[in-house]
């Protein structure tokens, strides 16, 4: 009987462990929303989301500049990072010489493992001075942040797209070759469209990584609170707004920062939903 007893206890223990992730998500939601939403209501939701001025000393808490900042920087990083990542994934799946494959694969994995603060540091000591020399202005700009994030999302996108390309049945590719198409046409016009869901999932994942990135952006984006003023001007994103001011903020200011986190969290939840919906579609295809 003793054996059965321990079996049952362990079963409950395993179940409890599995439930911690549910508990964690619930707790995160409760604590973020409970601390952020009162501030949003106090400031007024339209004033908070669409206000163009962030001046905590004057009780002005408009985060539109940061929302736009996050969107612009993310869009820029996608424009730079995604094409390169897609081509790299295609290279890994269809072009890579067998000897090079483990090397490149290891390099992509390593890129994913490099801490964001190291990327940020590299941006700070190399890309920012380079930009300063090229443009003659301050080097901490939207373009700098986009470029750095473009590099950072590369491994994320490649890591999802390459398996998606490989999971396309081989006879698609062979059929296309048999019809007289070149290797390139077969890959880009037959296999790539067939792997559409995986490709989109990879891109959306990259967007999520880009919009949530904090430490790298804070070191190269300039962090001015004004509305984004162009590619070669500095800006501030939602993530960096939190880190910049959380250290000394009190009262409503502090709550407004948490509310910024809530807005970011909602963005991320939407992106997450897209990713899991796409993943499910890939499974059923």
């Amino acid at each position: 009987m003793k054996g059965k007893y321990s079996e049952r206890i362990m079963r409950v223990l395993f179940l409890a462990a599995a439930c911690t992730s549910v508990l964690a998500v619930v707790l995160i939601c409760i604590f973020l929303f409970a601390n952020g939403i009162p501030a949003m209501l106090e400031i007024g939701l339209p004033d908070f989301l669409f206000g163009q001025k962030w001046k905590p000393s004057n009780d002005l808490y408009g985060i539109l500049p940061f929302i736009l900042g996050s969107i612009y920087v993310t869009a820029g990083s996608v424009l730079i990072g995604v094409p390169t990542a897609l081509l790299t994934a295609v290279f890994l799946a269809f072009y890579c010489p067998k000897r090079l494959y483990p090397v490149l694969k290891a390099m992509v994995n390593l890129m994913a493992g490099i801490p964001s603060v190291v990327y940020g540091f590299f941006g700070l000591v190399w890309i920012v001075p380079l930009m300063r020399r090229l443009t003659g202005q301050d080097g901490s700009t939207m373009l700098t942040a986009s470029l750095l994030l473009g590099i950072m999302i590369l491994p994320t996108v490649t890591g999802v797209v390459e398996p998606a390309l490989r999971s396309v049945p081989e006879h698609y590719y062979e059929g296309s070759l048999a019809l007289g198409a070149t290797h390139e046409r077969s890959v880009f016009c037959v296999v790539l469209p067939a792997a559409k869901s995986g490709v989109i999932a990879g891109i959306v994942l990259g967007v999520g990584r880009s919009i949530g990135e904090t430490m790298a952006v804070i070191m190269v984006a300039g962090n001015q609170t004004w509305m984004p003023q162009g590619l070669l001007k500095g800006l501030r994103t939602m993530t960096t707004n939190i880190v910049m001011e959380m250290g000394y903020a009190t009262d409503l200011h502090r709550e407004a920062l948490i509310a910024t986190g809530v807005v970011l969290f909602v963005f991320i939840l939407i992106i997450n939903l897209c990713v899991s919906a796409l993943k499910r579609r890939t499974l059923y295809e």
Partner: protein, 293 residues
């Protein structure tokens, strides 16, 4: 798996041969090669730049026991990182493995519970580290009154790496052939004994590879520990003290702008740790592959 590679383009310049007949195709092929070379060049340049500029600033003083404004030693930060990593792993690894065991060995496929756990794990995986940092600050530091402390930082990281540990363990458990389980049952072992004596030992390399990856994420994490653990520079005396991790130390140094040389050196140490962990993880994964033939 790589059979496509062997068939096509054996030589790097293979596409040049049909450049005359299919100029567009050759251009596309050139673009693909260019992208791959660009990625490799970017990584080599980044690592090379930091290592070359940083190695000469690595000095024994940098590893002295005390942090002072004259000598911004990284030793306290290094020790804090070790403490945070050990604490976080100590909690997250058993929790993650148990959760994966439930999902793979016990749960009925397609039950609502499993669906819920899947969705929340995926959600956790997509949450950016700054949100974890905020949550850690609100929950562990404020609500549980732990203040800025290493423990609050570790617990925040536990939640952050949990999905990674669960997912890699799950994959490792799934890859254990059912014949092992059946043989164990056939010999009269119970479910628990089968899991601990047969399934888990077989899955160890896969689990380890995930744990090592998680360690890498913990060591490199900044945004999630910055606020829960704080930025204190003194050597800690207990888990409830505030202390900066190595990554936070590096962030503070490089934003202060006075100690750039030391920031370079810290970057080298961070990179070395991450590189080593990455290699270790790959080695674990490879030994798993080998065993499966």
């Amino acid at each position: 798996m790589n059979n496509r590679n062997t068939k096509k383009n054996k030589s790097p310049g293979g596409f040049l041969r049909y450049a005359g007949r299919h100029p567009l195709a050759a251009a596309v092929a050139a673009l693909v090669w260019l992208a791959a070379l660009l990625v490799m060049a970017a990584l080599v340049f980044l690592v090379g730049f930091i290592v070359i500029k940083g190695v000469r600033h690595l000095s024994p003083e940098l590893f002295s026991w005390n942090y002072t404004t004259d000598n911004v030693s990284l030793m306290p930060a290094l020790i804090n990182t070790l403490i945070i990593t050990a604490t976080a792993l100590l909690i997250a690894v058993p929790l993650g493995i148990f959760a994966a065991v439930y999902l793979v060995e016990y749960a009925k496929k397609g039950s609502r519970m499993v669906g819920l756990i899947r969705i929340t794990t995926e959600t956790l995986q997509g949450i950016p580290s700054i949100i974890y940092g905020l949550f850690g600050l609100l929950f562990f530091c404020t609500a549980l009154k732990w203040r800025y402390s290493l423990l609050a930082g570790s617990m925040t990281l536990v939640i952050m790496i949990l999905p990674l540990v669960i997912r890699t363990t799950e994959e490792a458990l799934i890859s254990v052939p059912d014949a092992y389980r059946e043989a164990s049952f056939g010999l009269g072992a119970g479910k628990l004994r089968t899991i601990f004596r047969v399934v888990l030992p077989t899955a160890i390399p896969g689990i380890l590879s995930g744990v090592v990856l998680a360690t890498g994420r913990i060591v490199g994490e900044t945004a999630a520990v910055l606020y829960p653990a704080g930025t204190a520079t003194k050597m800690v005396s207990s888990l409830m003290d505030s202390g900066r991790s190595l990554a936070v130390h590096m962030y503070v140094l490089s934003t202060e702008g006075i100690y750039m040389d030391q920031a370079y050196a810290t970057a080298v140490v961070l990179l070395a740790v991450v590189l080593a962990l990455n290699a270790l993880s790959t080695a674990c994964a490879r030994s798993l592959m080998k065993r499966q033939g």
